[in-house]
């Protein structure tokens, strides 16, 4: 009994809607568990990025005498984008294998676990934005009308991260080394995303490579354009972000559909 493509899509959608409450519950479980039994609780979502920013600002502007103006905003605007991409993808990476027991013993759609990881990462990102708003207020950097494009940048970033995380999550099911490779990879990625130094301190070739081929940097640069330099993101960057977003999202969905059949034997 082969289903047509349309029927398959309908089935997936009705199934997905049926499991929406479970998805919401998994997301809130993630957040709840993270801060359970801590004194400050959810305040950590805002405090943590603030403190990291303060330390990095002290280290890089006092110790290394950076010439970047408004360094806290430079740092934060970039870092929040980078941490979302790598954090969310890393969270999605382990989401399927960590819920292996649930998959083997109950019948829930497998894609609900990466989606839940993504959801809780997005909520965390929103908390980061609150922290970022505080930084903007303290430094007197009030956002201009260019902010209207920020949701578009975020959407591109979400699509890209969804795709990357899905690919990694599926890979992890078959090859458990993926997690360790990713850890090493993100270390390199951190330094290649131009988070705490100015782009111009690199050679021209390096600058070109990063601006062309590092998707995380697309979002870092556009975020700085909007919040720090009060200008429109470059159209080329916006286009690149959209293209990697769509391409990775499609690749991620393709990986799920490929793995669906025999994934259960490996989790």
């Amino acid at each position: 009994m082969e289903l047509t493509f349309k029927q398959k899509v309908q089935l997936t959608v009705t199934n997905g809607l049926k499991y929406m409450p479970l998805l919401k519950n998994l997301i809130s479980r993630d957040l709840k568990k993270k801060y359970r039994q801590s004194l400050l609780g959810y305040a950590w979502c805002v405090l943590n990025p603030l403190m990291v920013m303060i330390i990095m600002t002290i280290v890089f502007s006092r110790m290394f005498h950076n010439k970047i103006q408004n360094y806290p905003v430079y740092l934060f605007a970039g870092r929040m984008m980078y941490t979302f991409v790598t954090g969310c993808a890393g969270h999605m990476l382990t989401s399927i294998t960590e819920n292996g027991k649930l998959m083997r013993k109950t019948r829930v759609p497998y894609y609900i676990f990466p989606l839940a990881s993504m959801g809780s990462s997005v909520v965390n990102f929103l908390f980061q934005l609150i922290a970022f708003a505080l930084v903007l207020i303290f430094t007197g950097t009030f956002p201009s009308y260019h902010v209207v494009l920020f949701p578009v940048v975020c959407l591109e970033m979400f699509l890209f991260t969804f795709g990357l995380g899905s690919l990694l999550g599926v890979c992890q099911v078959y090859v458990r080394d993926t997690k360790y490779i990713y850890t090493v990879f993100t270390t390199a990625w951190f330094y290649l995303s131009v988070l705490f130094y100015p782009l111009t301190s690199l050679t021209l070739t390096m600058q070109r490579l990063i601006r062309n081929f590092n998707p995380a940097y697309y979002f870092v640069e556009m975020s700085r354009d909007i919040f720090l330099y009060h200008q429109w993101p470059r159209p080329m960057m916006l286009l690149r972000g959209g293209v990697v977003g769509v391409v990775f999202a499609v690749l991620g969905l393709w990986a799920y559909s490929r793995a669906k059949k025999n994934m259960i034997l490996y989790v």
Partner: protein, 243 residues
């Protein structure tokens, strides 16, 4: 509408043993050179045919590793048949392991919601059944304690209470009465009888022959993935016990 709720035709389940064991680079390189190592197949179920009608209660017996749980997983939809067909016409409440959907760090109260949602209930349904679940599991005092601090009996009670709260068309119970005490077992059996009279179909695995005799009308005896015997519970169990 036909009253056949589960129809299995010539279904087999195949596992690749080479794939199941721990994987490492050394094995991988070896496998590249020795083709036979790449595939070590094992049939957990072989050519199973089974028709189950709405409202029946079936017991599955057989030694460890005979394929009982694999069969139930296939009916639940967790495993796909390698060959053959499986058609299920109704909602399934699987209890393949008591408390399988529990999150140890969450409280009993939170886990009731989570487990209910995993079973495919809506939030409202879980709320409606909440009091009933608490009453049946006798855990009123411990609702706000993380489940990791529950005893295995408490977990069993809660798991059973949630899975049986809503009237699913098919209830699958795999060796679930083992951890409870006698009183709880009786309570569970009473509830299963109650569900049966309400039209639920029951698939029941247990190593306790008396339980199977009390609960099930029909039984299947599996051995090494093959059907040894199918028939009325008494006949099958007598034959099984005489081996």
């Amino acid at each position: 509408m036909s009253d056949t709720i589960i129809s299995i035709k010539d279904a087999s389940i195949r596992f690749n043993l080479a794939m199941q064991k721990d994987w490492n680079l050394k094995d991988y390189v070896e496998k590249l050179f020795h083709k036979e190592k790449r595939f070590q197949e094992f049939f957990a179920l072989k050519h199973i045919d089974l028709q189950i009608k709405r409202g029946e209660s079936w017991g599955f017996v057989g030694r460890n590793g005979s394929g009982k749980s694999t069969l139930l997983k296939m009916i639940t939809g967790i495993l796909r048949p390698y060959t053959g067909e499986v058609a299920v016409n109704g909602t399934v409440a699987p209890l393949l392991e008591l408390g399988a959907g529990f999150d140890n760090d969450l409280t009993g109260r939170e886990n009731i919601m989570m487990n209910g949602l995993i079973l495919g209930m809506t939030k409202k349904q879980v709320m409606d059944y909440f009091d009933d679940i608490v009453e049946f599991s006798e855990l009123e005092q411990f609702l706000d304690v993380p489940v990791k601090k529950y005893s295995s009996g408490m977990r069993a009670r809660l798991g059973f209470a949630v899975a049986t709260a809503a009237r699913a068309d098919i209830l699958i119970a795999d060796e679930v009465l083992g951890t409870g005490d006698r009183k709880f077992q009786q309570k569970c059996e009473a509830r299963m009888a109650n569900l049966l009279s309400g039209g639920t179909t029951l698939l029941f695995v247990s190593h306790s022959a008396p339980s199977v005799r009390r609960v099930c009308q029909k039984a299947m005896w599996l051995d090494h993935g093959e059907i040894q015997m199918v028939g009325p519970t008494e006949d099958v169990l007598t034959a099984y016990e005489n081996t």
